[in-house]
Every structure is written in C-alpha cells, then in structure tokens.
Symmetry: C2
C-alpha cells in the first residue's frame, strides 16, 4: 500500500512536470509548432514517457488548461479564506484575476480552442467556471457573516458580479487606479456601511 502511494505520488509529480514543461515550450514557441518531442526534451524525459501520461497532444492541452485553472482556483481560495478585511481580500483577488485573464487571452484561449468545439467545450468550460463561482459564493457568504457586507444579498448573484469584475478590459486605463475604482464601487454597492 505504501509503495502504491509512493508510486502514485511520483506519478503525479511526473505528470505535473510534463505540464510545466509544456507551459515553458508554449511560452517560447507558441501553440503553432508545439511538438510532444519538445515537451519531452524540456521535461528531460523520453518522448514515450509523455505518452504514458497523455494519449495525444489534445489530451495534454486539455490537462494543461485544467492544471492552470486549478492552480488559479487554489490561489483564489487561499486569498479569499484569509482572516483579513473582505475588501482587502477582494482587491487582491481581482489583481490576480486580471493578471490571469491577461495571460489567458494571450495563450490559453488558443489552447482551449484546440481542445474542444461546440457543446463539449461549453460544458467543460462551464464546469471550470462553476468551481470559481462556488469559491466566490463562499467568499461573499463569509463577508455577510462577518458583517462586512449587507444582509439580504443573494450570494450567488454577488459572486457572479465579482466574476464579471475580473474581466480585464483591454483599455488604456491605469491598472492600479482601475482596481481601486472597482473595489470602491463594490464597497459602496454591497458594503454594510455605505
């Protein structure tokens, strides 16, 4: 049993190493010329080993988007469950989210487009969004429980608004001033003390 756990952990470690290597290759070469061979070289393993973990390039890319999204959700959850004022946590979350969306626009959107089309893609992306929505709904509930947000708010709706506020408009505005503005509007909009 212990051996099995150790092997499983090592296997997870290798899987992760392949995904991280794929990110490096994508950043250097873009999606166009991505070859499993380059990924293997970057991960310092054999090409055949990559295929032990991922059936083909499409499966690798799908796992990669999930890996990046999951990392972001883990970061978000860590920030949002800290014992700090609600609007401080909100500002930090939004700053991370805008950075993530900028990165996403550059590369991950193209990767996601490779992965699936039509209804299958929609269902898959909706699953990822729902996870984010659950994290944000818990966060809003914690704000109400702490008395920092007004009572009577619908946590799911407020969470959807926070989700929207994380869209980075590609506009010529100062990022820090923009974040301050978002948080100020939100504080006045849902804060307990107007």
């Amino acid at each position: 049993m212990l051996l099995f756990v150790a092997l499983a952990t090592r296997s997870q470690g290798k899987r992760r190493a392949i995904l991280e290597a794929t990110i490096r290759v994508l950043r250097e070469q873009g999606l166009g010329g991505l070859k499993i061979e380059d990924v293997a070289r970057a991960a310092e393993i054999g090409k055949g080993t990559v295929y032990l973990y991922f059936r083909d390039k499409r499966e690798l890319l799908k796992a990669l988007v999930e890996h990046r999204a999951t990392e972001f959700y883990a970061d978000a959850e860590a920030i949002l469950t800290e014992d700090r004022p609600f609007f401080e946590r909100l500002r930090e979350l939004l700053a991370r989210r805008l950075a993530f969306v900028d990165e996403w626009r550059g590369l991950w959107a193209a990767v996601a487009a490779e992965v699936a089309q039509g209804e299958a893609k929609k269902a898959w992306l909706t699953g990822l969004h729902e996870r984010y929505h659950r994290i944000l709904t818990d966060f809003v509930q914690s704000g109400i429980a702490r008395g920092e947000l007004r009572e009577g708010l619908d946590p799911a709706l407020v969470a959807a608004t926070i989700s929207a506020l994380g869209c980075a408009p590609q506009l010529p505005v100062d990022r820090e001033a923009y974040l301050d503005q978002l948080v100020e509007i939100f504080r006045k909009g849902v804060g307990a003390k107007p």
Copy 2:
C-alpha cells in the same frame, strides 16, 4: 458626382449583403467548412463578385468582425444618447452587451482567431475596444452632467468598469436578476444619491 454617390451606395449595399450572407452561412455551417462559394450562393451573387469586395476568406472574416462590432457600437450609442435616466440606459446597454458577448463567445471569437495572430490581432482588437470605451466615457460624462452620477468621478475609469460589467459570466444565475444586481451595485457605487 451623383452617379458616383449612387454607385458607392450600391457598392456599400452589396458589401453589406455579402457580410450578412456570411453570417447566415456561419450560423448554419460553423467556421470549419466556410467556403466563398456558399457565401456567394447565400448572397445570390456570383463567386467572382465576392472577390471584387474581399481579396480572400481572411479579409472577409476580418470585415465581418468589424461589421458586427460596428453594428453593436451603433446600437450602444443610440441607447446611451437617449434622453432617459442614466441607470435605465445602463441596464439596457448591459442587457444588449451580455447578449452580444454570448453570441461572440459562440462564433466571433473563433472568427477573430482566424483573422490575425499575435501583436497585429492585439492592436486590431484594442482599436475596437477603444471605440467602445469612448462611447462609454461620453455616457458617464453625460451622467455626471445630468447630476445622476457623483462629481469627481474619473469618467474613463468608470467607463472601464461598465465595460467589465458587460462580461457575461457563464454561470447558473438568472439573467434578469443578475442585471438588476449589476445596476443596483453600480447605482450605489457611483450614483449621486446613495
């Protein structure tokens, strides 16, 4: 001169007819199998005529995204310059924007990805976004001038926030309740009367 204007108008009409036909073909067949031949058939013109207006498929698709975006901006401008309360206009704009973003996610994002890559694409999309930002900035200024928004707001920053609020989160929330919530937060956040 009159003849020239008449010909130019007829030419604009035909160009538009080709773009509208392309939209119909894309909606039926998706982007994968798009052929200029099908577009010509849908527009009830010869294939050669399409090439008088668009050098190739890429140029046609680029013109199409601009056409749809320009239509949306014209709609937005019409709504936002009506003589009605600021927050009523805002709600109508956001409802249209969410519908546009839903449509965009389904098809136009794929079309836009075909059109250009890297820096050229970024510059082109930024140009489209900046037009929207100018329309929204004028709208915010009108709200301040009418005394419906607080003085001392930075119109460009508030416009950027409205732009973000137009992101449709793909989440299981009721669209109408979500719109009400957005407008309420925004009213409390920047409205003149808290």
